[in-house]
């Protein structure tokens, strides 16, 4: 074995250790979702599953009580509906507004441009949870507690700065000459944006969309304060329905967690090729 091979083995070995470290909690969640409470609580821990079942999912989605510790099933479908409405709407608005903002910052010069940009980015330095109390007080005064609109509003505000930052970078990558050529080619400014700059930055916009969606979909702390009932509670907040005063239904909770992960995973796979950038290269220079 030469030095290079030893090096390779070392790199692979450390990569595998790292992957195990990252994957284990996730794997544990998935395993737990399919196991009876007895196996979950067993000491020492049972790593290799002995009997797997779908009871938790059946209970969660269709009701029924066998093996679910007699708890009445939680309204997962309502939560799912809330999650979908809130995540998609807030992502759509954030990407729309953020893209326009990013384009503005990338292409136009106005007074104090850098200061505005910095200000918008600074809003993201405030931890979201520290805003929960002020937001709660304001929302309770104007009646937005426990509503879709209220939560959507929070997520839009949370996601716009990031979207602006990301799309600004993408629009900057597109040479100005591109839209200028389009304009001498007979386009209006809007047509040049629509036919040339938008398609060229779609990787950036798709990435921004994915991130915004995942943030909205996975957010827990803020929503747990703002959502009170099935009217607006999202899936993540619904996880807490599995805790009672003295017991926690771990398998049920993990089943819901798996249920939450799946759509996010599918969506990420669908647009992952856009996450890999590089579309604009080739049209310019040699």
């Amino acid at each position: 074995m030469n030095k290079k091979q030893i090096n390779n083995i070392l790199i692979w070995f450390s990569a595998i250790i790292l992957i195990i470290l990252i994957m284990t909690p996730g794997l544990w969640v998935v395993l737990t979702a399919f196991r009876p409470q007895v196996d979950v609580m067993a000491k020492p821990a049972v790593w290799i599953p002995r009997n797997l079942n779908l009871i938790q999912f059946e209970t969660m989605l269709f009701g029924g009580s066998e093996g679910s510790m007699g708890r009445s099933p939680i309204p997962v479908l309502s939560y799912l509906r809330n999650s979908l409405i809130i995540s998609f709407t807030s992502t759509f608005i954030a990407v729309l507004v953020g893209t326009i903002g990013g384009y503005g910052f990338a292409r136009h010069n106005f007074k104090h441009k850098n200061k505005y940009f910095l200000l918008i980015m600074l809003t993201r330095t405030i931890p979201g949870i520290s805003l929960s109390l002020p937001i709660f007080i304001i929302f309770s005064k104007i009646g937005l507690i426990d509503t879709h609109i209220g939560i959507i509003l929070v997520f839009v505000a949370l996601n716009i700065p990031f979207t602006i930052w990301l799309t600004d970078g993408f629009f900057r990558q597109i040479p100005r000459a591109m839209s200028e050529v389009a304009m001498t080619d007979g386009c209006t400014k809007l047509q040049a944006f629509w036919h040339i700059e938008l398609p060229l930055s779609r990787s950036g916009i798709a990435s921004a969309g994915i991130f915004a969606f995942l943030i909205s979909w996975n957010e827990y702390a803020l929503v747990s304060n703002l959502a009170r009932s099935t009217d607006s509670k999202t899936l993540t907040v619904g996880l807490m329905d599995f805790t009672a005063q003295f017991t926690i239904n771990w398998p049920g909770m993990c089943a819901l967690a798996v249920f939450i992960i799946i759509p996010a995973l599918i969506l990420t796979f669908m647009v992952q090729k856009h996450l890999v950038t590089g579309l604009t290269f080739g049209g310019v220079k040699g």
Binding site: M178, T184, T188, I196, L279, F281, G283, G286
Partner: protein, 364 residues
Amino acid sequence: MAKVSLQGVSKFYGKVQAVKKIDLEIIDKEFLVLVGPSGCGKSSSLRMIAGLEEIDEGIIKIGDKEMNNLEPRERNVSMVFQNYALYPHMTVEENLGFSLKIAGLAKKEIEERVHEAAGILDITEFLQRKPSQLSGGQRQRVAMGRAIVRRPDVFLFDEPLSNLDAKLRNQMRTEIKRLHQKVSTTIVYVTHDQVEAMTLADRIVIMKDGIIEQIGTPLDLFERPATKFVATFIGSPSMNMIKASIVKQNNELSMKTNDGIIVPVPKDKQNSVSEGQNISFGFRAEDIVPLKFGQKPSSAWEMQSSVNLAEPLGTETLIFTNFGEIEIVSRMFTPEQVKSNDVLDFALNLDRTYLFDENSGLAI
């Protein structure tokens, strides 16, 4: 087909005035080259014609129509950019046809015109490729094809060859010239390369610091530079330029350099200068030749100097030598071996020596 006229046109970037009230008449079907060092305002002028920059002062007309408040798309001009700016997400065919599609032409006509343009530029075989699959020269051709497919009134070229390597640049230069003959449309062409300007232009406009230094045919500028700047900018190698003041000697006016070398003022300039005036005098490399290897001009001034460096280029040899403290270059057309430190007698052709007033920079 159209003439273009700029009347008192200015451009400001903040407090900096990039273009200073320039006047320019571009004749229909003319190939006009704007040339100058970077920051001279040539690109700004071009972009104002295209409508990509606001015209802060003055009027620009294409044909007889004022363009000041028209959008780029309303001006019927085509622009070719330095970095080509091909649409990377479209095939060559779509790139060429994009403007026609936007204009709402029928599919069949778009196809015809795209193929016609592709034929002119010899890119028919690449029509289905994406820009990223083309070489630099091919991209440049597609960019030109995209410009001609619209049949514009005016072509605007913004340093189109500066991204190409030397060999390709020469080749594309010829093609642009040929293209102009084929489509015979007014062309305004911006470059910083004086060789490009000399070879392509019907007329050259030399700009510096936002003003026009001189307008003329390539030979005009070469033979009769109006200013010191034009004299040193046009021609390769650059014209030798030496500072001097006018002194009187034996009832004749002479030029005394800072190193104390005295050269007589050429006969025809004797009455145009006065004693004490600060001037620069310039002469091209081919107008100061080693006596041994060249023909002695009828009106010559001779000096002896040693060779610092010789660059044999085949048909010619460039000899770097000193004129007092200043290094000058001499060009000889005989294939003789000259080595460093050879001491040679040089003859300066006084009939081809240019004088410039040091204060105004204007030719005397």
